[in-house]
Symmetry: C2
Subunit: 333 residues, 2 copies
Amino acid sequence: MKSNSVQVLTGGVLLLLASCQRAPTLAVVDPLASWNETTAKTAIVQFVARVTAEGGSEFVPVAERVAVFDNDGTLWAEHPVYFQFAFALDRVKVMAPDHPEWTTKEPFASLLKGDIGAALAGGEKAIVEIMMTTHAGMTSEEFEQIVKDWAATARHPKTGRLYTEMVYQPMFELLGYLRANGFKTFIVSGGGIEFMRPWTEQVYGVPPEQVVGSSVKTTYEVRDGKPVLVRLPEVNFIDDKDGKPVGIQMHIGRRPIAAFGNSDGDFQMLEWTTSGPGARLGLLVHHTDSEREWAYDRGSPIGALERGLDEAAQRGWVVVDMKQDWSTIFPAQ
Amino acid sequence: MKSNSVQVLTGGVLLLLASCQRAPTLAVVDPLASWNETTAKTAIVQFVARVTAEGGSEFVPVAERVAVFDNDGTLWAEHPVYFQFAFALDRVKVMAPDHPEWTTKEPFASLLKGDIGAALAGGEKAIVEIMMTTHAGMTSEEFEQIVKDWAATARHPKTGRLYTEMVYQPMFELLGYLRANGFKTFIVSGGGIEFMRPWTEQVYGVPPEQVVGSSVKTTYEVRDGKPVLVRLPEVNFIDDKDGKPVGIQMHIGRRPIAAFGNSDGDFQMLEWTTSGPGARLGLLVHHTDSEREWAYDRGSPIGALERGLDEAAQRGWVVVDMKQDWSTIFPAQ
């Protein structure tokens, strides 16, 4: 494209109007190319058209075009285990040589033998111990580097892809489409805020200041004249369920007009978003594709979707059928 | 200015290159017009030139140009009492008819008699009680409206100006100058996050998602089918001193390259900001003008500046002498 060309973004198409010496050319590129022409795509495009139509009754100023996205199961996959839990398990292996006591201490002993089921027999207490051991005790900058190194090398057990290549191409397109229409896009995830920030800008185009998530307490110290932020093994905030609207208010300070999730952990975020005045969009990604991805909803230990399915129709939320609505799941490698 | 004119921002001057039928005209407007030509202004302009010089050794990409500003005493005045405390006192008067018990209950009884000194004899406990009574118990949306109504009408006891007209013109220009040079500007204040957000976008051009402050705990409820966020009378986070770097990490997720404060409550924010690698700017506003504003530093009950003054030189921080460095304090009305 020549540098003096003009990009005009309209409801559903990207028009590239190239100005050149020859006769003008017109290329039409669909910014939502991985979305099949079904009702889900129509609902998204129509919502954006309504809130961006200047002079229209549902016009929303750019500053108020806030869109929030869950991460696990909405922007990237979450099976067979949450990727952050896979990170924690990898960390246990890396840290084990410095912890000889783990060979006999649960839940680490079972983890190191590869028996995740036995490790998790300890329930929530075991999970919290694994998470705190692997996510706290270092500085924020050290943790950032640990996550970056892991994200650059760790691979998904089923696909062999980097975990950051397990993002959903249609959702990636949706992020860009909304931004091109003046939206500010935020991640609002139950995952760790500091686990996501090291790679969300590069992978999703979402900068750290637009990431909301769960967190541990942090303290400021000056060590040998050098200031550091130290991550403590104590929960600060859980950004899930009722916590999502609270996290949104804390970090964003205004109610979004569009919310995207996939599980009942996102229910309150969609409820809060879509109960405001004016045009609103709530959307749930329903995992229906056991061949290209995974199929799960009711009763799933990860990403259960039950109340959301029951109430989506009456609340006017869009339910995306991954198998029917998405022509592509993961980006080309 | 004609619509086809071009704005070119350089280190210290805004060039308006107007394209028109007549001979081209060149207007030079100083974006820091209220800053006298002293070392403080030079330090600001040179810092911005260094981090924005493409190809230079100290160039900082736009995404990393994060600047943080304290509010009380840095962006707006803070005498004779923090304006948020004036808001709380006004709220006590408004709420009094619904609280007949306050006529005999301290600290409210003294406040309603106009005796602030006696009310504050109860120390921190009295202050917390006044703040929690006036800042909690309602929904976030109700509180936002209360603050908006107050900000639109309440006036400073000395100047008769609206409190939002007690902002510092030179700092307002500095916010705009940094933004014009690709910086994202954040407020990081000990004041209440929800007390600032209702007016910071209009007054400073800082949107709610770029405001960091102290907060009360909030809970999500559905009342008669309508979701609300309820402000609880319990401290969630104090964004002051050691808390400022923690608040920065929580909300912004990267270390700023420029920090602006005025009191020892900002010390750690400047320390954290200026101890990172590359070009950094730390700046303290020193209140030296008893005629046009107020003069205070050591031992002041509000906005005390002691350690900052002692260590500014060795840390390379700029100390603004309001009397000498600012040609204007408050904006023209």
